[in-house]
């Protein structure tokens, strides 16, 4: 049995069940479904590790008319990451949504549609399917942001939707130009056909602009903090960990895989400058926030900036440096996904426990709710890039790449960024370990359910664990590049 279509069929089937039969206990059913999904992802991961990349044509229709799904090393890593994060978020939501019966009705169908769309993006082999996936992700994500139906949530959802729709039209226009020039949208075919001319550059520029909006890269990030900071905790976790990564994934595939060698060095450096600005701006804004969820949301803006550094590090440099940058960037994507999901989930528990979103309300809670604070701290360690953690390995690879290619300015950005991250993480700790407040017996209104605390801790533990087991995903990440030689075109 072929596993690739199964990974789309499972979430779609569960989405329909959740939508049509709302009286069923949707939460436990979802966790069960996620378990099936996780097993399927693991099996596909194993088979790609053993046999290499696989392609699947839906209904045996070949490209360009049919839809081709591709599962290579990067795809299966992201599929496994998505399944793992989603199942833990589902467990968390199971407990968290007990207080939100109104939201629960629509959370589960949207959760499954989001998952189907994400899997569709990871597996897509052509540019138009990526467009459809992007739109489905947006629709599901906006629905999740507006779940509560309150004024601020609706405003944040609208802001998000308008930005995302504009972004997808830019992307679609680029797709139209590429099709008219080359007559195919299959990425593998395009990677051989694309020439460096005005049409290609204009198309790729339009697509890049659209994707930058969707990935919320500075200065196009304004929609992200209200949407991610205002949503329910499990929604924020899914959005920050997975949704913004999907558009970055397309961007990376576009420039470093399908269109390798087409990105001018100046353009790559510009993308890097955007990333660096995001790191510093997001970090400073995070430091200024008074609400804990907004701090974490701005931290996402900053962390997304690191992903953009892949482009200058992998363009116009030696194959070795490019490979290091690619591996470091993708590992950062995975490590940040786990760490940020853990952070949003633990923050959600903290907010529930103290009954306020304000950071000042966390004063003296370190002795009262240590488990959630520990999860927050572990996630913070990975975000700062302290060893041993997935974040450390990712930044280490990127640093090595920057040093190999002699781009010292990115070394400075990477180090200063980590320092800034540490500053805003410790801001939370300084408040929560406030000895005076502890002595006065402040903190904690409600006792948090153990299910909420353990699921956040599990995610944080995986983020740290990636520091020890990074070799496995990295080995798999480099598979498709070695086979297709996609990154070899990068060297000058």
């Amino acid at each position: 049995m072929n596993l690739i279509p199964l990974l789309l069929v499972i979430p779609l089937a569960w989405a329909l069940i959740s939508l049509l039969l709302p009286r069923l206990p949707l939460g436990p059913i979802a966790v069960l479904g996620m378990l099936v999904q996780l097993i399927a992802s693991a099996l596909l991961w194993r088979s790609v590790q053993l046999d290499g990349a696989a392609r699947y044509a839906i209904g045996d229709w070949m490209a360009p008319l049919g839809i081709t799904l591709v599962a290579d090393g990067l795809t299966v890593t992201l599929l496994a990451m998505t399944a793992l994060i989603a199942i833990i978020c589902a467990v968390y939501a199971l407990f968290y949504l007990r207080a939100h019966p109104h939201e629960k009705r629509y959370f589960w169908p949207l959760f499954w549609f989001l998952l189907a769309a994400l899997n569709g993006i990871w597996l897509a082999g052509d540019l138009f399917n990526l467009y459809v996936g992007l739109e489905l992700v947006t629709l599901a994500a906006v629905g999740m942001v507006t779940l509560s139906g309150k004024r601020n949530a609706l405003a944040a959802g609208l802001r998000y939707l308008y930005a995302a729709l504009l972004g997808s039209l830019g992307y679609l226009l680029g797709v139209a130009l590429l099709y008219s020039a080359y007559g195919t949208l299959d990425m593998q075919q395009l990677s051989q056909l694309m020439e460096n001319n005005w049409t290609t550059q204009a198309a790729l520029l339009l697509m890049t602009l659209g994707l930058l909006v969707k990935t919320a890269i500075f200065p196009l990030h304004a929609w992200l903090p209200p949407a991610h900071g205002g949503a329910l905790a499990p929604v924020s976790a899914l959005l920050s960990a997975l949704v913004v990564k999907s558009s970055f994934y397309i961007l990376a595939r576009l420039w470093l895989d399908a269109g390798s060698g087409l990105l001018p060095v100046a353009g790559a450096q510009l993308l890097g400058v955007l990333g660096a600005s995001a790191i510093f701006y997001g970090g400073f804004k995070a430091l200024q926030q008074k609400e804990i969820k907004m701090l974490v949301a701005y931290s996402t803006v900053a962390q997304l900036g690191y992903l953009m550094l892949v482009f200058p590090l992998a363009t116009g440099t030696s194959p070795a440096a490019a490979m290091l940058a690619w591996q470091g960037g993708m590992l950062h994507l995975v490590a940040h996904a786990f760490a940020k999901a853990a952070m949003f989930l633990s923050v959600g528990t903290l907010v529930l426990a103290v009954g306020s979103k304000q950071i000042s309300a966390l004063a003296g809670i370190s002795t009262r709710i240590p488990l959630s604070l520990f999860a927050f701290g572990l996630a913070g360690v990975s975000l700062m890039g302290l060893p041993p953690s997935g974040g450390f390995n990712a930044k280490w690879l990127m640093l090595q790449s920057a040093m190999t290619s002699g781009q010292w300015h990115w070394v400075i950005v990477l180090s200063l960024g980590s320092l800034l991250t540490a500053t805003y993480i410790f801001k939370v700790f300084r408040v929560s370990f406030d000895q005076q407040a502890i002595d006065q017996g402040k903190g904690v209104v409600a006792r948090a359910h153990w299910g909420l605390e353990v699921s956040a801790l599990l995610l944080a533990a995986i983020a740290i664990g990636l520091g020890f087991a990074a070799a496995l995903p990295i080995e798999l990440l480099s598979l498709p590049q070695l086979e297709n030689g996609a990154l070899e075109g990068v060297s000058p």
């Binding site: 679609l172 903090p225 979103k357």
Partner: protein
């Protein structure tokens, strides 16, 4: 100049006009309309530019068809959120200051939060009972 190229040029003109409106207008409904016109422009470019080999190519047609379905769903979602937003806030545009300060009415928000916490505590104390307190989460209206 072939008719296909005309399609593409008209498409570009539509995109430019609609993009101008999208950025200039603050009324959310007008911006939804602008988005739809922009979408039509993109579809015209898609069909027009791909047909230059003088024979009908089915792929762009299929793509545009899918694109229309996506645009209709997105419009539907935008409209329903807009309607809800209008009925809750009475506004037809987003406030600019909200980018920096997402929660203006902090007292109100924390009240709802306390409601939520109370109902969560209820729910956690009685694990099997359904919490069934929709009023807690709809406290804003």
């Amino acid at each position: 100049m072939t008719s296909d190229l005309w399609f593409a040029l008209m498409g570009v003109a539509l995109i430019a006009l609609a993009a101008f409106t999208f950025f200039r207008q603050v009324h959310l409904l007008r911006r939804i309309l602008a988005f739809n016109i922009m979408g039509s422009g993109v579809f015209l470019v898609m069909v027009g530019m791909a047909q230059h080999q003088r024979e009908t190519d089915p792929v762009p047609q299929a793509l545009v068809l899918t694109g229309i379905v996506v645009a209709v769903s997105a419009t539907a979602l935008a409209l329903i959120i807009f309607r809800r937003f209008y009925s809750v806030s009475g506004q037809v545009e987003l406030d600019e200051y909200q980018i920096e300060e997402p929660t203006q009415n902090e007292d109100h928000a924390s009240d709802t939060m306390k409601d939520n916490i109370n109902s969560l505590q209820d729910a956690l104390q009685s694990d099997d009972e359904a919490p069934a307190k929709p009023s807690a989460s709809k406290g804003d209206q």
